[in-house]
Amino acid sequence: MTLLDFARGPALQAALVIFIIGALWRFIGALLLPWRLVPAQPREGSPGTVSAWLKGMAVKMWPHEPFAKHGAFQFINGYIFHVGLAIVVFLFVPHILFIQGLTGLSWPGLPNSFVTVIGVVTAASLVAALLHRLRSPVLQLISRVDDYISWLLTFLPVLTGLLATAHLGARYETMLALHILSICVFLIWFPFGKLMHAFLFAFSRGMTGVRLGQRGAEL
């Protein structure tokens, strides 16, 4: 079995299995704890639960003005690598075909050169995020190993993917295998670190939206 066979076969399967087990375990384990949103009578005229939840999710997409001054770099850079990652992952044809193989769903992709440019921008943005974390006293105090592992495991797929398509580094098959293996490690780590914010944000934001929204407070 070549490295590529291993990566595409047993490794990817094991990684996906661990990812699904871990994510559901963490998610359900947290959400099945007792629900205790204090049931005070909502303020008259305040939004209902569902719309307060959704508003809580939506409002956090951009910081309030006083926070935007200091937070602008983080928000903008954050969007660059989140959106960039989304474009590379979901709009690159070979990736779309992988998802189609798993789920049957597919959609049109973007030209490869476009995706490559976005990939480079995403990688640069990730590096900028790391530098920011290393240079901020606040972030240096609160950062944990998890933050660095999550960064590395997000960065490596982008890097190896770019190297593979550019035929740089090792032989193409090896680079492709490393790319897929880096995704495997990413998937395995995902449920156990902060990458889970990809799913959790909907709940944390929504709950605050409901708590404050039902008081008639601004979000």
Binding site: W25, R26, F27, I28, G29, A30, L31, L32, L33, P34, W35, R36, L37, V38, P39, A40, Q41, R43, S46, G56, M57, K60, P63, H64, E65, P66, F67, K69, G71, Q74, F75, S136, P137, V138, L139, Q140, L141, I142, S143, R144, D147, K194, M196, H197, L200, F201, F203, S204, R205, G206, M207, T208, G209, R211, L212, R215, G216, A217, E218, L219
Partner: protein, 435 residues
């Protein structure tokens, strides 16, 4: 109760005769009881972006990274991970998350009590929607059980438990009301058997700001409302809500609501106090199964009601003014427009502060911080943020709707020899009733 210092040189207070182990266990149990799905979702969600720090007046005023809001929750989060999180059995089994030590709890006492007013500005800044202020409030429950709260707050707690109020024994309440009424020539109602409105008070109004008792009475009388003060339910500021004594919080809340029910009141009116509103309006339902049997409103809401319905008319002040939005009333409470309605009725030309309404800077004294003298140095630094903003408006009057904010801001003014007087909205209304 003596001020102590940890091995690492961090000051803390400790009350009672518990062993370190007992304190640790009490804190852990107190923490674990709080971990429901909501707390869990929040605690799982931090991505360490640091946005909360720029929202916190203590961090911004001092530049000390330790005041980063989410950092204040570290031991609480650690307890969650070790005892209640989805992977907690694995973490415990393999020692991946250590037990919270008593030293850590001691070190964190000042972060949880001195450097946080539970103002909730960080909650608005967090991109993951973590309600940090709410979680700090929950963490205080465990800290209280462990006897690791500031001595001053513990003192007030003992007094409140003994007297029913941190300001005065319940037996003296009726006298204070009557004396004030006589002194200022205002007819007072106290201990009536039946009334539509039960009016409650804040401790400062029973000591230095007793005029407020008469001001409220004037307004109620002018509006022709059927109202009373009552010895069995008078203390509204609810110190249990802010110092972590959940049992006291329940006791004090029940007193108000049960008294209102007893006298057949439809409406419970809370004084000019922020925490009173948070406790009675938004948390009373915990103990009444969701259906609190009376309508609970803040004094500011009452003023807006009687002004907007024309029950009282006001003389115009016709001056420029700026308003400090009390955190528990506006940002956490949702009473955004009522104060502005009243100020408009007083013909006060409002110039908003640069950070206003839900985004207001906290006065720096809420959550018990102003009573906790150990926190004075950072409270004064935080005050400078407020002072700058008020000065920038160039207005003649500076008004707020919370007695504790008033005290905090006036203490700050004295410290910095600032000539601005902080005024009460209730007082302005009472002093400018048009008859």
């Amino acid at each position: 109760m003596t001020a102590k210092t940890t091995a690492s040189g961090v000051p803390y207070d400790a009350q009672g005769e518990m062993t370190d182990q007992a304190r640790r266990d009490a804190a852990m149990k107190g923490f674990v009881k709080e971990f429901g799905a909501v707390a869990a979702s929040h605690l799982e969600s931090c991505v360490r972006c640091g946005m909360c720090s720029e929202a916190c007046h203590f961090y911004v005023a001092t530049g000390n990274p330790a005041y980063t809001p989410i950092h204040k929750l570290q031991p609480f989060e650690q307890a969650y991970k070790r005892h209640a999180g989805p992977f907690s059995p694995v973490y415990r089994l393999f020692g991946l998350v250590p037990s919270v030590t008593v030293e850590k709890l001691q070190e964190w006492e000042r972060l949880i009590f001195d450097a946080c007013t539970m103002c909730g500005r960080c909650t608005l800044a967090c991109p993951m929607g973590i309600d940090i202020a709410e979680l700090i409030k929950k963490a205080r429950h465990g800290m209280f059980k462990a006897g690791l709260i500031p001595d001053r707050l513990q003192l007030m707690d003992r007094t409140a438990r003994a007297w029913g109020s941190p300001a005065t024994p319940a037996e003296d309440f009726a006298d204070i009301i009557r004396d004030t009424g006589e002194e200022l020539g205002v007819p007072m109602n106290v201990d009536r058997d039946k009334a539509e409105y039960l009016v409650t008070v804040a401790p400062a109004e029973l000591t230095e700001h007793t005029k407020a008792l008469a001001d409220a009475a004037k307004v109620f009388n002018a509006a022709g409302l059927d109202w009373t003060y009552h010895t069995e339910g008078f203390e509204a500021s609810n110190i249990g809500y802010l110092n972590g004594d959940l049992e006291l919080q329940e006791k004090m809340t029940r007193k108000l609501i049960d008294c209102a029910v007893k006298i057949g009141a439809k409406t419970l009116v809370l004084p000019e106090c922020g925490h009173a509103y948070g406790a009675a309006r938004w948390e009373a339902a915990r103990w009444y199964g969701g259906e609190v049997p009376v309508r609970v409103i803040h004094m500011t809401e009452l003023l807006a009601e009687v002004v907007n319905s024309g029950k009282i008319r006001l003389k115009p002040i016709a001056q420029s003014a700026t308003f400090h939005d009390p955190c528990q009333l506006v940002r956490r409470g949702g009473v955004n427009e009522a104060p502005r309605d009243v100020m408009k009725a007083l013909d006060l030309k409002l110039t908003e502060l640069e950070n206003t309404k839900a985004l207001t800077w906290c006065c720096g004294g809420g959550g018990g911080v102003v009573s906790n003298t150990r926190a004075d140095p950072i409270r004064y630094k935080a005050f400078e943020l407020k002072k700058r903003e008020v000065d920038a408006t160039g207005t003649q009057r500076f008004v707020t709707a919370c007695g504790q904010c008033r005290i905090t801001l006036n203490l700050g003014a004295k410290h910095f020899k600032w000539d601005k007087k902080v005024e009460s909205l209730l007082e302005l209304v009472a002093d400018n009733l048009a008859d």
